[in-house]
Symmetry: D2
């Protein structure tokens, strides 16, 4: 099985968890979703992210979802699984389970209790020891975790732990952080930097030295295209495409409603059967759906103009 | 002096505080800034907002800034002054001072210690009693204050306190909140709803029933135009204009860097003399300035295309 | 199997989770611990509390611990199991599992995202619907959960949900809350109020109308004796006993070190084999152990004097 | 005027702010309070602490209180003034004002936005530069500020900034922190460590190497006596006295009610004229007063027994 490595690039889409309206997991939609993401140009997938509905799953359900997605992916792209948990025993158990199933690596966010530089570095050293040779993604998302990692703390983790192969970058203000980590002498090897925030800063992030995105906008083709055009040196074309999708991307990034909007959009596109969120979780009002419909209609017109 | 009333509408720009590079307040730039905002179509101004640099000012400096701005405005539009403070004595003193200087009303955010519905309602009842007949803006900004007010809590405050004339709306997800507050029977009178979030959701907010914006994007003419076109029933034109400015508006809303970006843009436009933030406060890197320059250049092209 | 009911009273000791020095669960110590607690006069036990090491256990380990403890208790006293979790699926699964094993009820703390009165009431209504006829303890612990429930919110939950049979009271300042809940007309039936905070306010809590304690001080006999003397009307004797243990109880309530101190004390008393905390978790320094030893020696002298 | 220095020791009582029942400051009570604290053996005073009612004062009121207290102290002991504020301008203004009035130094808590080690170190470097040669107390109180400073961060601040002469220690678990800071080689000079937490851990703190207390228990004579007995090597006598006061000290440390209890006790002792807290602020119920009365009666009996 391919392991995640420091050359990870492109778009790792963070997959949603499809549910039936009664709250059961919709495994058929998992299949369609995998095909859709890969057809859109995803170079990897990430499942069980902390911002989605993974915390609402039982351990058995988590295993079922991961197994189904891995089976459908069938080695075509690497799959990263989020294993953040309050205790090491849970992290170890979940990591062993998903690596057995064929995951390419795991993603670990810091627990909210960490504060000082040394506490953060020690935590990741313990995690790395715990999971052995499994490659891991360091998730830096202060807005949600409350843990702020200075660039030099990230550098200590990367430089000390060879299994840290990728940074999921989701800090604010984050562009300077990318520049700091890409500066000469900061890291003892180049690792992958994949950015989050729903892709809202993707053009600038790529120009600062990111390798791609790891996030979940319902139009992953936008991120694929932005990254390809940036790679080809055509940052204006990249930004034109980005701008065309931005009104919807902005709308999907609303705290508290984002996931409902994303699922509604994915259902509207035929990717998943239902836009249901598992309880507790809000749903989109009729007005909210009309707002999304309107933005999509405008987006399609704009894309046609762009050619 | 005109007092703020429930018919407040349009764009109340939240003014920045201009500084010299050495940290002194730049009162000359205050004058230019006032003229610029009013020329751009602002229907009101708000000064000493909690998100800007007001907390860095001494009481004397606050008075100087408010006095200078009020003198320059000279009654052309109402000016709201933020008076949020840990204690009632400070709120009372600051309110008396700014009303004497000619402010049209004050804005009060809830202290972060409030949690239960009754605590919030009681707090505003005490504030209203304290400041007497001064009209006030209820600031609802949970992301920063940590205080979540259900629509029915806002309704209790509005229905109980006649001096509560305006809601500064900055919740997430906020669109449903506007709809809830505009629903029949929710409030015993129609109050003004002005929205924040840097204008990032302005078209949708207007269509949900907001009366305008109270926020600080460096191109207030965008907000003015969106609101006018919405009022004229041309929501597509409103959105076209919004979309043209959105790449920059998004960039300016980055947590942690937003104010530096806004000041850089205002200085670039000749509105304020320096883009300096008072310490402690970050500044924009050279790369960050180039990113803003690039977005502005693209924005100008797009606006030319729009006509 | 006996179900937890509104007449729960006395001391429900919150059990620690014993580990071997290498991090494995020490099931033999579970047996000794159960015997010790019951011999000390516990009228119930609570396992998998949110403040201890439950979050460090895998689901399988949680089941093993609960099963072992329930087997040893063998119906002598009711056992409450903490089932707080981010998602309803986990709560439902864990509740079904522990009730099958013979638990008397479950305890549910509010997720930290709840803020408004209605959000809290709705959450518990959904939980109660989810777990059917299983009796539950409402855990009110704002210092840790960040969720503040006004007495009237607790009243709405109790009055609406017949399966809410007990309040685990751990608010600060909490004494007025007990009085408010015991006031005529507040609740439509008398429920059990058991208090936390390591027993640090137990005499006052009992005099305000609490029915006992649900917390984890390493000398549960103190709490048993305080409650018995209060029940017998001898509040001075209750307080004398309380005062004798207070220097140690205070020491054990130090945030961040409390559990290490409790485990050290329980190991010293021969209750559990090791004072090990599972990683990540601090251990007591040599100086810290000497401080505990000194306090215990003084406590024993004082108890001898008391007779 | 005497400046605060690294040899500060004994009890720096944190003074309450006395109010009239109508909310006006009670300056006459300030005089009585100063005399009372000094008669009780205080070696210093601290005013305008962040945990009390200082944030409820206007700048003018703060000056009046500080001036009155300094006049009454009249150089007999050093007086430290809290000057924590969101901005440097306020810190500078307040520092200049209180040093002019005769303060011995200032105390600065970190703003809650600081997270990484370097952010904390940089903040204090900027503060030290700002206030010039004024000696300052570094306030370490994570429970309230949310800022956690590792011992090595404190060491960097102390070692870099000669005007940092004292640590107000109020971390949890804090005993190990004292030991760490007193270990050989940690600091490049010995600074004063004065402990908070209402004196609840004072005997252990002294045995770990603290120099005294800076906190506000309504019986400062307890702290004076504990410290003197510790200094004299009689830790058992120190602990006996501590234990006699502990039931009340514990009661006074209840979050949310502590200040009301302290003021009630001080008024009962004749130190201040009224137990009024300025709004917004809770008051003690009749039951609460009876609880304090009962604890004081028991305390007096116990002290008589002790001799």
């Amino acid at each position: 099985m391919t392991r995640l490595a420091t050359d990870a690039a492109g778009v790792f889409v963070i997959a949603v968890t499809p549910f039936h309206p009664d709250g059961r997991i919709d495994l058929e939609s998992c299949d369609r979703m995998v095909d859709f993401y890969l057809d859109a140009g995803a170079t990897g997938l990430t499942v069980l992210g902390i911002m989605g509905e993974a915390p609402k799953l039982t351990v058995e359900e988590s295993r079922d979802v991961v197994a189904r997605i891995l089976a459908r992916v069938d080695g075509r792209v690497p799959v990263v699984v989020g294993v953040s948990a309050p205790g090491f025993a849970q992290i170890a158990t979940l990591t062993a389970m998903v690596m057995d199933l064929g995951a390419a690596g795991v993603m670990v966010a810091p627990p909210g209790s960490l504060r000082t530089d040394d506490q953060i570095v020690t935590y990741y050293a313990q995690v790395a020891e715990l999971i052995g040779d499994v490659p891991f993604v360091l998730q830096d998302f202060p807005l949600v975790t409350g843990v702020q990692m200075a660039p030099k703390v990230i550098a200590r983790i990367v430089n000390d732990l060879p299994t840290c192969v990728c940074l999921k970058h989701e800090d604010w203000p984050g562009l300077e952080k990318i520049s700091a980590l890409r500066a000469d002498g900061m890291l003892n090897r180049r690792i992958s930097i994949l950015c989050g925030n729903g892709g809202l800063f993707l053009p600038e992030e790529m120009m600062r030295g990111a390798d791609g995105a790891m996030t979940g906008f319902a139009y992953p083709e936008m991120m694929v295209s932005v990254i390809r055009n940036c790679a080809a040196g055509d940052s204006d074309r990249a930004q034109d495409i980005f701008d065309a999708y931005l009104p919807l991307a902005r709308f999907e990034q609303q705290p508290g409603m984002g996931l409902a909007i994303r699922k509604y959009t994915l259902a509207r596109r035929g990717v998943i059967a239902h836009d249901a969120l598992r309880r507790p979780g809000g749903s989109l009002s009729q007005k909210g759906r009309e707002e999304v419909d309107r933005l999509i209609a405008r987006q399609e017109r704009r894309l046609t103009e762009l050619g």
